[in-house]
Symmetry: C2
Amino acid sequence: MQSERSVPTLDDVAKAAGVSTATVSRCLNSPDRVVDKTRKRVLQAVEELGYAPNFGARIMAVKRSFTIGAIVPTMENAIFARGLQAFQEELHKRGYTLLVASSTYQPDLEREQVHKLVSRGADGLLLIGHDRDPAVYEFLKNQQVPALVAWTYAATAPQRSVGFDNRVAMRRLADEILGLGHTRIGVISAARQGNDRVRQRIEGINDALMSKGLSPTSLNTVETTYDVDQVARAFDALMAVRPRPTVVICGNDVLAVGALRRAYDLGIKVPQDVSITGFDDIELARIVVPALTTVHVPHQKMGRTAAQELVDMVENKTTGASVKLETHIRIRESLAAPQQ
Amino acid sequence: MQSERSVPTLDDVAKAAGVSTATVSRCLNSPDRVVDKTRKRVLQAVEELGYAPNFGARIMAVKRSFTIGAIVPTMENAIFARGLQAFQEELHKRGYTLLVASSTYQPDLEREQVHKLVSRGADGLLLIGHDRDPAVYEFLKNQQVPALVAWTYAATAPQRSVGFDNRVAMRRLADEILGLGHTRIGVISAARQGNDRVRQRIEGINDALMSKGLSPTSLNTVETTYDVDQVARAFDALMAVRPRPTVVICGNDVLAVGALRRAYDLGIKVPQDVSITGFDDIELARIVVPALTTVHVPHQKMGRTAAQELVDMVENKTTGASVKLETHIRIRESLAAPQQ
DNA sequence: TTGTAAGCGTTATCAG
DNA sequence: CTGATAACGCTTACAA
């Protein structure tokens, strides 16, 4: 007999309804394989006892947890928050739950989180970017846990991914900028170390320069964290260069908005004195004054698609192709031709 | 013998190391209860086979999943993203993993998510705000899953919470505003329905009005979604009122920033023509021009504290008191005395 | 249509 | 310090 205070089990329900555990299980998982009358009785018992299936027992029996893990650098960045939200919604539609961990941009932590989520029973894993120790992929392969890389697309990479080509996207924006006549260019970027998206974007700028016959060495690049004051200092450093850059290309919108604010504080007019561009097209880009020229990235769509692909990988064990999403340049007020 | 393609189990490791499963288990969970030599051999086998413990089996044996669930309205709002990030980091420090679901502000969905996370084995649950069907609490009690309410604090509520007093916080800001001489007040708010935080903030404004002998009916309140264009329309509606409000109090920073942008588009100067205030003090509040007067809420600290409290509830089955965090008014350029 | 019973991979208890 | 073994709660052949 179960004590009053313990959580009801399948067995309790079975006893209460006067059937076997197998029947209760069937009522819950394949209702049509049970006759109406018994089902009704069973479901009533379930309701009365407040029964909820025990997860551990279930995944042991089924060998699936219907749980998908995601490891993002941080949820604080709007692009990941937004993508994750869409990812979670789509997962929910398909009957899966989301396990979240953040690496805070630390490879070791990410590795640890991978192990953790796998041993927590994740059926599949979402990872951001390709940069990581190959041992991680080996481990996942060994554990037979499919992994999908997002926020980047690389046709040549061995790992399946859903994302866009950061290099080409940035190159297009840079082409636009150079086309306006800018030649003195400053770049504010997040740390390149361990972050392929960041590196690819910078390569994209270089591609554009080269195609115009300009030297990549003419590029003044400053790395910074996302801290507002740090970004301000990065902007200061670029403005101290002589001759001063006529445009500051930022690795993403968060950095660009920080630069914009700093320019305002310094009395530097955007875009008259200096142009500023971003990347991502977060909501904020339209709200700041002047509105930000940037690259639109379909973060929500990426999250949704990633969920679909990952569930597909888990359920069909397929090894389909990577998915490439398109980005678009959004020209807004913060970019103009250089004055001089 | 295990087939090449199957995931290694405790048993495989035991065989490989020439010990019993019990010893392997001990090596992993209480290493000091095993002699150095055997441990080394075992750990090597673990490494070689790429073994990771099976979650389902583990939680069945231990009756704990070391997983905490969180159900937030949406991760897209920076305040939740930031709080969740801190929550997750603290959880990780204590050996727990985070299961995330979002209700998208729908009570039914939230209820469903509660069931889901519980049957997924969550040891504890984080919920936002008090507003919900009592049946949810009953279910949780029945399942013996402790739940903690966050983003609000109510001394009288039966449910334990970690948060701040939304009403008092907003009242203080309103006192400040009224003290400057404002009497015509517009309010832009998220939907009050099913959201106690929103209602409490509005009550706070009313409290301030009453204490000055002003009537709450003098308040012009417009509800809106977070969509940029919707917010703009809400602002338009308030600006159409005659006589025009001298200040627009927004339920949070996201709404305030939207209002700010709309004011700019309309050529309405802030704070000269109209003052605008926010709530939350997200990073953005300092970045926009003019910088936003708002109420600083310690979101990260709230997330961290919630994690600590919840783990405590799970591990010690304590029923301690709710935790009240302090908020502070941040006066910045967007608020000034009325011109006329 | 329903019941019986054998796993699933760990941990914990109890001997040795 | 280590090993054998009984749970843990569910699903799923297989039988009835």
